[in-house]
Subunit: 142 residues, 4 copies
Amino acid sequence: MLDQLTGTDKGLVHALETVVVNTPFASFCGAQILNASPGSVELAIDVRPEIMNQHHGFVHGAVLGFVADSACAWAAGTLAGDVVTSEYKLHFLAPAVGQRILGRGKVIKASSKIVVTQADIVCVNKGSEKLVAVALATIVKV
Amino acid sequence: MLDQLTGTDKGLVHALETVVVNTPFASFCGAQILNASPGSVELAIDVRPEIMNQHHGFVHGAVLGFVADSACAWAAGTLAGDVVTSEYKLHFLAPAVGQRILGRGKVIKASSKIVVTQADIVCVNKGSEKLVAVALATIVKV
Amino acid sequence: MLDQLTGTDKGLVHALETVVVNTPFASFCGAQILNASPGSVELAIDVRPEIMNQHHGFVHGAVLGFVADSACAWAAGTLAGDVVTSEYKLHFLAPAVGQRILGRGKVIKASSKIVVTQADIVCVNKGSEKLVAVALATIVKV
Amino acid sequence: MLDQLTGTDKGLVHALETVVVNTPFASFCGAQILNASPGSVELAIDVRPEIMNQHHGFVHGAVLGFVADSACAWAAGTLAGDVVTSEYKLHFLAPAVGQRILGRGKVIKASSKIVVTQADIVCVNKGSEKLVAVALATIVKV
């Protein structure tokens, strides 16, 4: 994913922004990189209910899945460069009601082949945050 | 999800088509119900690469995640009516290259509160099928 | 699992010790309840290498699985009473080398039917702790 | 795990029996290799209720976890040689009541670094089989 790793957090943010530009689905979702440092990343998307919701009026799980997968893969990418997601598990904890979704990814363990990561998915509704999903993922170096 | 369960497969297909109409993200993805019977469902989406791809040029994992989650939830819905996904695990097996994604969901075990389901996610490229992801999910009755 | 929930942490520890006594596999493993409070629990086992190891000389994953499953189920039990594990995912992070295994379980979200929990599995080797596994589990009220 | 892969199924069974002998926890559980072929394995254990049960009188989930983990890792080992389990997810489907537990592991996809596997865990009660758990695992070559 990240072709070039840099030593500065600003460099990591910039590298991830380039990933977003080159990832049609991430661009379509409007993914924004809020923070990045070695082993962690925070991204956000703005909710477009007319596209992103499910049948109960909440943000669709697939959108939360995108944020979870990206938070995990991009956190791994800050340490491991170009990566792909091997597998993830996603728990939905509460209905996602709000205007903005945050994904906070963190590396738990990076080994030579595999990076184990976790992510918290938070929904922001009128300024207050709620944890709506958690994920555990296996990310693999390309 | 399914407000009315019917005894015929045609009725199940029709009920799921109504779910798609009422689910903005599923409508956006163009989800089509190919088959449905008690305990199983098959859906399809046509790939729009300019929106649905990732940075290596394959179909994005979040799109496969949508198909997996829907295949599992809708298979559960054929037995349990209105449901939500509690959690799922998704393994990516191969790059998703093709024009069409199929999701085949099946109930493994339905108990009073919880329905355990699995799904195979298949990518169709120029007429030939390839298994690109598998999922195991916990679906809960509303 | 817990037939009686009490308002005091000492009461929770005592209730869990009764669970251990009534659970042959937990008794066999020598599970000890170190701490318990509403929504969290810490347990320990002493490693018996002649029984509990695998072929590389580390503690067997099934023993870590026992600690993970118990930490999750018992943490849920402090809030929900008698429970069973519906599913869990367990990541192995590092070889488990040491004399003692600790399991620290915590409730992430308790709803009416389901309790989502996580656990850290720690191996203590000559007094120093190492995180060797993490788990995410779905626990269901009986 | 398997130091030497052989071209015959009898050779695979023999190689796995050597693994069991060298794995204290597997020996303790009395793991028996019933069948092995490239990409699949079937193992069995006899239930000793006084050690292997949980508090409701069923076989403990950790014992099913051992069978699931072993079925997945050993199935991968038939193709990949020495392996370790990276992660698995285990769903419990029904109370495990019976005298014998079977684990049937199968490789879904073997790539250069990672082998994705699944397992069915079956409990045999007075001669009749019941599916009591299913697993999906990531196995890594050493």
